[in-house]
């Protein structure tokens, strides 16, 4: 699974660093390093929905407050199938 977090200016200001840090922590905590690749990109063109995150090709709007919930529903649940 490929998870991409937007690190462009708008998303950065709305907390993409916190989102990335949290995701890194959660991925390590659940030993998912081999199943989930975390990457960055500059701008997904949907700045009003920032922080923009894609899981494979599915788009999600995430914030530092909702990142745990997002991880549980859209990453952990899917990887565990």
């Amino acid at each position: 699974m490929k998870v991409t977090v937007c690190i462009g200016s708008s998303c950065h200001i709305k907390g993409s660093r916190q989102v990335v840090t949290q995701l890194q922590r959660l991925i390590t905590q659940h030993n998912l390093e081999e199943k989930v690749t975390l990457g960055g990109t500059f701008c997904m063109g949907q700045c009003q929905k920032s922080v923009c995150v894609t899981v494979d090709d599915a788009f999600h709007s995430v914030s530092p407050e909702t990142v745990e919930e997002f991880f549980t529903n859209h990453i952990f649940a899917k990887v565990r199938g």
Binding site: I7, G8, S9, S10, H12, I13, S16, R17, V20, T21, G39, G40, T41, F42, C43, G45
Partner: protein, 482 residues
């Protein structure tokens, strides 16, 4: 030439820049409309339409020179590898006689000029007026310094005075020629020639082509990588409006080159502790100067890629089909982008002058746009734009990596002459420093030849912009891309 009104003054330092800009703007305008091939020959006439000459001896010469400017705006002479090109017919063949006695000589009794001349080159005629024997004169300038009437002047060409690496000489036709081996492409002569007879080749057409081919980011994305010196430019508008303007032009997004500088600061600090002595590698004109004049010191140049290349490389890592365009104050970056080390990552380079022409080629008044945001880098990455900033960033990077045990003794060389002095000292083993920050332009990048304007407040503007960065440390800024 049309009146140099206030609206224009706020955009440029000189009329020479304004003229160059008008040519770029016209070329770009036709390129967007796909009408360049049809109209290219008419651009000179459209710029000077009247029957009366406005700048030169006759309208035909004006148009001939403008024709040459059009060629440079379209990429210049492909057989000439240098980014910096002389427009022979625009060179006004300024006097290049060296020291001369003018009419102001009053034939005084003191004759200090004669006393101070180390070569006995000064004699006096029957009116006691001084004369310089050119066969003896070594151009030391001491006579000019002591004359109480300032009657002795140095008739040196502005381009030669500007070129501190002594790459400019005069040919048999009295036109300036550039020694391509010595030239660092810094652009000092471009900015200083009062007739605009030396210019930097433009790749504005390549950029327009890239943007058009991208089809609004559908085929691929074109990223604008903007240098932190942008903070001292476009002062008639807000930085956020420049960012929105770039997106309106068709760039997918804008990324700070300063984030590349953050990366560089970290690895440069580490490399310094490993090697014990280092020169910076950010400024392409400085690197080119070391390579041509101090080949024995090349081993000390940091192995880091420049911030421009570093961030472009990262962008292409995240988006393999991306195209990157660096936009900055620098003509030498155009040369750097053609080096093997940069070519795979940097697709083209524009100056701020050219960006202004691009905005206006689309008749875009950026002051009416909404403010976008630009925030990728830390304070330290951003202050690379001014002299001393890189050294400050290395101090911080040592601290953040727990390498404080290494005592940094940096010398921030402000301009190529200071660089030369430091390099000479290093060669002789008498340099009291372990890090040379080499910046070819006075003031650092904010003094670059591709800037729209140069002013005393530029440094303060960079520092202010630096402090506005959301991330306060280098580690935080780069944690996103590591």
């Amino acid at each position: 030439m049309e009146k140099f009104d206030k609206k224009v003054v706020r955009k440029f330092d000189t009329k020479v820049q304004y003229l160059k800009y008008k040519v770029l703007r016209e070329v770009a305008r036709h390129a967007w409309d796909d009408t360049l091939a049809k109209n290219v020959m008419d651009i000179p006439k459209n710029i000077v339409p009247g029957k009366q000459p406005t700048m030169r001896c006759c309208i035909y010469k004006e148009r001939a020179i403008l024709g040459e400017r059009v060629k440079i705006a379209m990429g210049g002479d492909p057989d000439n590898k240098n980014i910096i090109q002389v427009i022979d017919i625009a060179c006004d063949e300024c006097p290049a006689a060296g020291y001369e006695v003018t009419d102001s000589c009053r034939g005084c009794l003191a004759n200090r000029c004669e006393d101070v001349c180390p070569r006995g080159a000064i004699s006096f005629d029957h009116n006691h007026v001084a004369h310089i024997d050119k066969s003896k004169c070594v151009e030391c300038g001491k006579c000019a310094q002591v004359c109480p009437y300032s009657a002795i002047v140095n008739r040196k060409r502005p381009c030669q005075i500007a070129c501190k690496v002594k790459a400019i000489s005069i040919n048999e036709e009295q036109a300036a020629i550039i020694d391509e081996e010595k030239c660092t492409s810094c652009g000092a002569c471009v900015y200083r020639c009062p007739f605009g007879a030396i210019s930097d080749k433009s790749y504005i057409l390549d950029v327009i082509d890239l943007i058009k081919q991208s089809e609004n980011s559908k085929k691929f994305k074109v990223y604008a990588v903007v240098a932190p010196s942008v903070s001292s430019q476009f002062s008639y508008a807000k930085l956020g409006q420049v960012i929105t303007g770039l997106k309106e032009l068709g760039f997918h997004t804008v990324v700070e080159a300063a984030l590349g500088a953050d990366l560089v600061a970290m690895s440069e600090a580490k490399e310094l502790t490993e090697k014990g002595f280092l020169t910076s590698s950010c400024c392409p004109a400085f690197v080119s100067y070391v390579k041509s004049e101090f080949p024995d010191l090349v081993q000390h140049i940091s192995h880091n890629l420049s911030p421009m290349v570093e961030i472009s490389k990262y962008i292409k890592k995240t988006d393999p089909t991306a195209k990157t365009v660096f936009i900055g104050p620098c003509t030498a970056k155009k040369a750097e982008a053609q080096l093997e080390s940069a070519k795979p990552y940097v697709d083209s380079v524009l100056t701020f002058e050219e960006l202004q022409a691009l905005f206006d080629s689309k008749s875009m008044d950026i002051t009416t746009l909404e403010e976008g945001v630009l925030d990728n880098a830390s304070y330290f990455g951003r202050i690379f734009a001014r002299s001393g900033g890189l050294s400050d960033a290395v101090v911080q990077a040592l601290k953040e990596q727990g390498l404080e045990d290494f005592t940094l003794k940096a010398i921030a060389c402000n301009g190529i002459e200071e660089c030369r002095l430091a390099l000479l000292k290093k060669r002789k083993g008498v340099l009291d420093a372990n890090f040379i920050e080499g910046m070819a332009c006075i003031g650092g990048c904010i003094g670059g030849a591709g800037c729209l304007t140069h002013g005393v407040k530029d440094k303060a503007e960079v520092d202010k912009y630096g402090k506005e960065a959301m991330e306060k440390t280098i580690s935080e800024a780069i944690s996103l891309i590591k």
